[in-house]
Amino acid sequence: MVLTLEQSAIVTDEENYWLRRFLNDLLFRLDESGRLADMRQRWLEEIYAYPRRAATEGLPFAAIMGILAIVAIGTLTPRTGWAVDRAEAEETARLLAKLLKAGRFVIEQNQQLIDDQHKGDKGFTPEVFEQQLVQEFRQQTGIDLSKL
C-alpha cells in the first residue's frame, strides 16, 4: 500500500541548465540501454552482502559535513561495524542453509541412480555433484558459485 506515488531524481541548482540537460540525456541513455533496469534489479532484487560490494566497488568520500561528522566519527562507526558484522553473518548463515538445501535436493534427484545396485560406475562423480549443486544454488539464490 502506498499513500502517494513519488519518483527519485538528481537535484541540481535551478540555474545549472547545462548540467541538468546533460543528466537528463544520460538518464535517457541509461534507461534506453536497460542499464537503469539492471541497476534496479541489482540493488533491489538480488541477494548480496553490501559490505562486500562496498569493498569492491564502493566510493570513498571527501568529507562528512555538519553535525553528522561528530556523530559518525564518535559513535556511528562502531555501531555500523557491528551492524555490518551482524548483517553479513545473517546473510552468510542464510546462504549456507540454502547451499545445504540445494545439496540435499541434488542428492534426492539422483537417489534412484545412487541406489541402483546393477550399475557399477554410476557416473555420479564429485565433479558432477558439484556442477549440479552450483546450478541448483544459482537457481535458488541467483548467485553463481563458479564465479567466486
Binding site: L3, L5, S8, A9, I10, L27, A54, A55, P60
Partner: protein, 265 residues
C-alpha cells in the same frame, strides 16, 4: 557680513559630501529594488556560462549524499581494507555520471566524483550555497516542501517509489488493512487516510517527503520527527506505532534488517 564667505567655505564640502551620499543611497535603493541590474551585468559579462565546463576545468564533480542510510540507495559508510567506502544504487549512478562527464570533458584525466556525506536536511542548503554540483539520495522529485527554492530536479531515475509504512504491531497492520479493504481501494484517498491513522504515533525522517506528506494529510496523529530511519526504530519515548517513509527503502529494511517489522499491504 564678513562671516558669510567663511560660513559658505565650511558648509560647501559638507553639502557636496551629503549630496554624494544621497546619490549613493538612492542608487543602493534602486539596485536593491531592481534585480534586473544583476541580469544586465551578466548579459555584458557572463559570470558562469556553462557549469559543465567548470566541472571539466576542476577535474571533479562535487556530489552530495545523505549521511543517513537510505538502503538500498545509499548504505551506511563502512570501513573496508581500502578505507571508508559508501555504496548503493545511487553510488553506482554517481559512477555513471562521472564516467559520462569524463567522456564529455574529453580530458586525459577522468572526472573524479568527490562525495560529501551530509545530513539529509542540509543537502539542499549546501547545494544552494554552491558547495555541491548535484546531490542524490533517493530524493523525491517535485515534492512540495517549504523553503526549497532555487533547486531543480532531473528526470526520474527511479519511478517505482511511493510513501509507504511499516509497523511492528500486527494489530496496527490489521486495523489499517481492514480499513483500506473497506474503502475498496489500494491507493487510498485523504479522508480514508485521516481515519485509518487516527490516534497512532507515526515516525518520519525529518525533512523527507514522508514528513511533508504526513503533516498536511494525517492530521489526527502524533507525528514524531526523527533524525534518520534507524533512529525511528530506536525511538522508545513515545513508542512508535508506525514508520512512514519511502516504500523501496522500507521494503528493503523489513526484508533484510528489521524482519520483525511488517510492510503495510
Amino acid at each position: 557680513m564678513t562671516a558669510r564667505p567663511h560660513e559658505t567655505g565650511t558648509t560647501a564640502p559638507i553639502t557636496r559630501l551629503m549630496g554624494q551620499w544621497a546619490s549613493l543611497l538612492l542608487m543602493a535603493f534602486m539596485v536593491q529594488g531592481c534585480g534586473l541590474v544583476v541580469d544586465a551585468v551578466k548579459l555584458v559579462w557572463p559570470i558562469a556560462t556553462n557549469e559543465l565546463d567548470a566541472i571539466c576545468a576542476r577535474g571533479q564533480v562535487r556530489v552530495g549524499m545523505a549521511g543517513e542510510p537510505f538502503q538500498p540507495f545509499v548504505f551506511p559508510a563502512i570501513y573496508t581494507d581500502e578505507g571508508l567506502r559508501v555504496t548503493g544504487l545511487d553510488v553506482e549512478l554517481v559512477k555513471e555520471i562521472s564516467s559520462a562527464l569524463s567522456q564529455r570533458c574529453d580530458s586525459t584525466k577522468p572526472i573524479v566524483p568527490t562525495l560529501h556525506l551530509i545530513r539529509f536536511r542540509n543537502l539542499f542548503l549546501e547545494l544552494t550555497e554552491g558547495n555541491l554540483d548535484l546531490f542524490v539520495s533517493s530524493i523525491s522529485a517535485n515534492v512540495p516542501a517549504p523553503g526549497r527554492i532555487g533547486l531543480a530536479y532531473s528526470n526520474p531515475y527511479f519511478d517505482e517509489g511511493g510513501i509507504g509504512g511499516i509497523t511492528m504491531r500486527p494489530e496496527v497492520a490489521e486495523r489499517i488493512g481492514e480499513y483500506i479493504r473497506r474503502a475498496t481501494t489500494t491507493v487510498a484517498g485523504a479522508k480514508v487516510m485521516t481515519g485509518v491513522f487516527s490516534g497512532l504515533t507515526v515516525a518520519v525522517q525529518e525533512g523527507t517527503s514522508a514528513q511533508f506528506y504526513a503533516e498536511p494529510n494525517l492530521t489526527d496523529i502524533t507525528l514524531v520527527l526523527c533524525d534518520s530511519l534507524p533512529a525511528a526504530f530506536e525511538s522508545q519515548n513515545p513508542p512508535i506505532d508506525l514508520i512512514l517513509g519511502k516504500q523501496p527503502v522500507l521494503d528493503y529494511t523489513v526484508r533484510r534488517v528489521h524482519k520483525d517489522w511488517h510492510l503495510l499491504r
